[in-house]
């Protein structure tokens, strides 16, 4: 299916939730609301014409305008089509619904997005830091992150 058709199917099922899309970009994307990611994800995985069963990647992004975002890259092994979804949330209250029940691989990817950006994934089974230590101050990949001077007695900068 082409990106247009996928967008039409999503609009047909979810109405105004999946309206904004940029279909002429290098890799077309569709914006979805952050509180409906699991329902939309489950529909994308189970609908017979879409069947997105393979989540290629889940990344967090800091858009530097007060918004954080999560970008989902999905692929269907059966129909061989791809789609990119974007979910934005404000930086001071970043909550996105977790999709770890839909795709098992999202579990660790969401933990990494939480670790690096501080995005809270609601209904995630085990949301804790995965790469940085548990008591590390701050969220490193945010654009306004300052490297701590000392961590547990060790000097961090060069």
């Amino acid at each position: 299916m082409t990106p247009q058709e996928i967008h039409e199917t999503l609009k047909g099922k979810f109405g105004e939730a999946a309206v904004e899309a940029k279909l002429d970009a290098l890799q077309p994307w569709i914006r979805i609301p952050p509180n409906k990611t699991r329902t939309i994800g489950a529909f994308l995985r189970d609908d017979p014409s879409l069947q997105f069963d393979f989540m290629m990647c889940l990344s967090g992004v800091d858009y530097n305008d007060g918004n954080l975002g999560v970008v989902y890259h999905l692929f269907s092994m059966i129909h061989k089509h791809k789609v990119v979804l974007r979910a934005n949330c404000p930086k001071d209250n970043p909550h996105v619904q977790s999709v770890s029940e839909v795709w098992g691989t999202a579990n660790w990817h969401e933990r990494e997005a939480f670790d690096m950006f501080g995005i809270q994934f609601d209904e995630h089974p085990d949301l804790r830091r995965i790469l940085c230590p548990d008591d590390y101050p701050g969220y490193p990949l945010r654009k306004d992150f300052k490297v701590p001077e000392f961590y547990n007695g060790m000097k961090v900068p060069y």
Binding site: C132, P133, Y136, P140, V147, N152, K155, Y158
Partner: protein, 165 residues
């Protein structure tokens, strides 16, 4: 001919100082702790394999720190790993030595500028005897580092109190 062959050419007695004997025994059998962290660990493994063969120097990898003399810190030390390295160093029995292999454990390596989770040099947590530069150092460079450590051990004196950190 090896050292023992020279000495035992004509008789089976040789006279030396206790220091020389102990130092010679220690430097010829430096047991190494298998402690590869990152890319330098692959070059350390290549040094133990048959092309470069570190075992002819007497260096055998042992898994537990209690049985080792030298810890070759090969790879980037991160903040999360630093406390474990300190604990492993404390578990080694004296006399113990540390070789810092590779640019990352010498001084932070390519991650010195923006690494928020990289410890800029393992000498911030444990004392280091020999630094081997390179990214990654060739196995021959690691062998030279072992030889430099052997020179250092050869010059050790029993009279001086061993410095611990």
């Amino acid at each position: 001919m090896g050292l023992l062959d020279y000495k035992f050419e004509n008789s089976n007695v040789f006279i030396t100082s206790l220091e020389n004997l102990l130092n010679w025994a220690r430097l010829s059998s430096l047991f190494q702790m298998q402690f590869g962290l990152a890319c330098c660990a692959i070059e350390m493994m290549a040094a133990s394999a048959s092309n470069f063969d570190i075992m002819r120097f007497g260096v055998i990898p042992r898994a537990t720190p209690r049985q080792t003399d030298v810890m070759i810190v090969a790879g980037t030390v991160t903040l999360k790993m630093a406390s474990r390295i300190k604990r492993l160093y404390d578990q080694m029995a004296e006399p113990r030595y540390v070789i810092s292999m590779g640019s990352c454990s010498n001084c932070g390596g390519p991650y010195w500028e923006h690494g928020y989770h990289v410890l800029k040099g393992v000498d911030r947590v444990i004392p280091v005897d020999v630094y081997v530069p390179g990214c990654p150092p060739r196995p021959e460079a690691l062998l030279e580092g072992i030889m430099k450590l052997q020179e250092k051990v050869r010059k050790e004196s029993l009279a001086k109190k061993k410095q611990t950190a």
